[in-house]
């Protein structure tokens, strides 16, 4: 394991500990200092990706290690954007555990060179666009999942009339719902473009748009689920509980696409 991963993982682990502590404690005193471990971990993480890209002279999103490294990095970026936009600090406690898990997978994954599929003459500018967009879409769906979870917890607190620390630390239902919806919408656009880029890339490679690969099937299922969600939210102006639950289902499917699909046999080189 690369020693840089120790820096990255311990920074994120500190963030996880502090954010969960802040969510449950009355006095979030450590909060203002957390910027330092987060900044250090994130900078190191960025440097790792850049260094990998330069040394291999390609976009570093091929193979399990790189892909998970990129996904966890994208998730931190997405969190920063969502936080900046909504000021919902509580989101951190729901996102950083996922960041930590994904980054750990990247750290312990065997360092593999890129699979033959994207090497040599087959390499095309479409591949990094395809993989990058889909991973960015996934990170947006993770944010939607975190916000959906916050929604369900806050709704539960309101229904049970438990006005404890959780109730005060979590944002309003409105905020949870709009973070969830907006990140789903952004994720959906990126997923659409990412799938299109993937199809284009395959067309160039072997003349087929579609191979019936499990990964492809799951991507299309994911795409339809998010389409249905966004459509219902657009027509009702509010997604509420159903959307929160659906964002969790969507998250499960994304996780399965990332982890489970490899057991079904796939053409996708990263799995």
């Amino acid at each position: 394991m690369d020693y840089l991963w120790f820096v990255i993982l311990s920074g994120y682990a500190l963030c996880v500990a502090e954010s969960i502590f802040s969510l449950t404690s009355k006095q979030p005193t450590l909060r203002r200092w957390m910027i330092f471990p987060l900044a250090l971990a994130f900078a190191t993480h960025t440097a790792w990706l850049v260094d990998r890209g330069i040394s291999l002279d390609r976009c570093p999103i091929a193979g399990t290690e790189e892909m998970f490294a990129f996904l966890s990095w994208a998730l931190v970026v997405s969190y920063l954007i969502a936080w900046k936009w909504s000021h919902a600090l509580a989101l951190k406690a729901f996102i950083f555990p996922i960041v930590l898990v994904i980054a750990t997978i990247a750290a312990v994954a065997p360092q593999s060179d890129a699979s033959p599929a994207i090497k040599g003459p087959l390499q095309s500018f479409l591949f990094p666009i395809h993989a990058g967009l889909i991973l960015l879409a996934y990170s947006a769906f993770f944010i939607a999942f975190g916000a959906g979870l916050m929604y369900l917890i806050q709704e539960r607190e309101l229904r049970l009339k438990r006005f404890g620390t959780f109730f005060y630390r979590l944002p309003s239902l409105d905020t949870c719902d709009s973070i969830s919806f907006k990140s789903m919408a952004v994720g959906f656009i990126m997923l659409t473009l990412g799938i299109a880029a993937g199809m284009g890339w395959q067309r160039i490679r072997d003349g087929h748009y579609w191979h019936g690969d499990p990964m492809e099937i799951f991507s299309i299922i994911t795409w339809f689920i998010y389409l249905a969600l966004i459509q219902s939210r657009r027509s009702s102006g509010w997604a509420g509980r159903t959307a929160a639950l659906a964002s969790i289902v969507g998250f499960m499917i994304v996780i399965f696409s990332l982890v489970g699909v490899r057991f079904l046999g796939t053409l996708h080189p990263f799995s």
Binding site: L158, F167, D174, D177, G240
Partner: protein, 422 residues
């Protein structure tokens, strides 16, 4: 100089007593100028509200005398016998007086701990005393410090974070459902005092769109006019239900006014976010089953009051943290005064030394032989004062630093021993 305080509050005196001893705004200037006699008391300030009367002053000599004068003045000004008020007033001097005024300004001594009104009242009292010309160096420093301590308590503790009234708790809950109230439509069912109060709190948070309905439409119109809202007939308020986001119900009806079945039907056509129902009537006016409807939240008066109680407990816990801050600040301030107040001691030291030198001069006069009158005057007026100044300088420096740490009079006492007088 000493800070002294005499006062009474809701904790020590019944309301009749507080009413009799209160200072009306119009008589305050007169009272202040009578209080400060420039003999026992040099400066004075009076805080008089419906819950308390605080008289703060700086006493030039004995603090006990200053306190007595304050108490006597309180009786004399209101034509009362001292015996009547004796059991109802508290008397503080020095650090206790400072701590008390800090606690009052920080709202630790208030009936509702953490309320913000008292700070404004203290500021007003300070301003009035400044205008009356009864605030000098000592009290102005004390009051400036008290105001900044109050600010510190407010920002460093959560003493006034959580609301402690039913209507402001309703707003707090609304803000955990909705992001902001600016675009929300509010339906007031019943135009009683309670629902009006809740509506006022929501409007202060930015709500602007209010619909009122009431069995007697005249009352509904009056309330709607207050908030720039509209009215809807009581018989048909279910029709507007799908368009509103917050429903506040407070009628005197003995049974349910809003029932679950009708509400379910009305909400079916609703195509947006959740609806918040707040029932502040006793007996309840909203069917409890409304809480079970999709995307609707219902809180009744018991729920709101349980939050109020929890928040009051929370404030008590925060008040304990505030006491620590105030204790430190009060001690810091008393040390500051002591350091500031070495002037009289300096004079005293110089006098002691001058007298010593003068008596030695007289004792040894004969041994000095013949001196002209000019020579004698030069020794008396030039040599002795110059020697006294030279000798007292290190003593004064010592006094100044010692005063920072301890009791000034003790230091003076030690000096007396050092130069062997008495």
């Amino acid at each position: 100089m000493n800070i002294v305080l005499v006062g009474l509050s809701h904790k020590t005196a019944p309301v009749e007593m507080r009413e009799r001893l209160a200072f009306a705004d119009s008589s305050l200037t007169d009272a202040l100028s009578k209080l400060v006699d420039h003999d026992t008391l040099d400066e004075g300030l009076i805080v008089s509200t419906c819950n308390r009367i605080e008289m703060v002053a700086s006493a030039s000599a004995d603090p006990e005398k200053g306190i007595d004068r304050l108490a006597r003045f309180l009786c004399d000004f209101h034509d009362l016998q001292p015996a009547i008020i004796d059991n109802h007033i508290y008397r503080h001097a020095g650090v206790e007086a400072i701590r008390h005024i800090f606690r009052v300004a920080s709202s630790l001594d208030s009936m509702v701990v953490g309320e913000s009104q008292i700070l404004g009242q203290v500021k007003d009292a300070y301003r009035q005393a400044v205008q009356a010309g009864t605030v000098g160096r000592m009290l102005s420093q004390l009051m400036d410090r008290a105001l900044s301590v109050a600010k510190r308590v407010r920002s460093e503790t959560e003493i006034s974070h959580r609301p402690v009234s039913v209507s402001s708790v309703a707003v707090e809950l609304a803000l955990k459902v909705f992001d902001s109230l600016a675009e929300k439509r509010i339906l007031l069912v019943g135009a009683g005092e309670m629902s009006e109060l809740a509506a006022r709190n929501l409007v202060e948070e930015g709500a602007s769109n209010i619909i009122v309905t009431n069995r007697t439409p005249e009352r509904a119109e009056a309330v709607a006019r207050n908030f720039g809202g509209s009215i809807v007939a009581f018989e048909s308020f279910y029709e507007v239900l799908p368009t509103v986001d917050i429903v506040i119900c407070s009628t005197g009806a003995p049974a349910c006014v809003i029932n679950a079945a009708e509400t379910r039907r009305a909400l079916r056509s609703r195509r947006k976010g959740p609806v918040l129902f707040i029932d502040i009537s006793v007996p309840r006016n909203i069917d409890p089953n409304v809480a079970g409807l999709e995307n609707s939240f219902l809180f009744d008066i018991d729920d709101l009051e349980s939050v109020v109680r929890a928040n009051i407990d929370g404030r008590q816990a925060e008040a304990r943290k505030a006491e620590v801050i105030i204790d430190a600040e009060a001690h810091h301030f008393i040390n500051h005064i002591r350091a500031m107040d070495i002037g009289p001691s300096v004079v005293e030291v110089k006098e002691i030394l001058a007298q010593l030198a003068l008596s030695e001069f007289q004792r040894n006069r004969k041994r000095m032989g013949d001196l002209t009158q000019e020579q004698e005057a030069a020794i008396r007026d030039v040599l002795i004062p110059s020697l006294v100044n030279k000798l007292s300088h290190p003593i004064i420096v010592h006094l100044r630093t010692a005063a920072h740490n301890g009791d000034r009079s003790q230091v003076v006492e030690e000096l007396r021993k050092m130069i062997r007088i008495d």
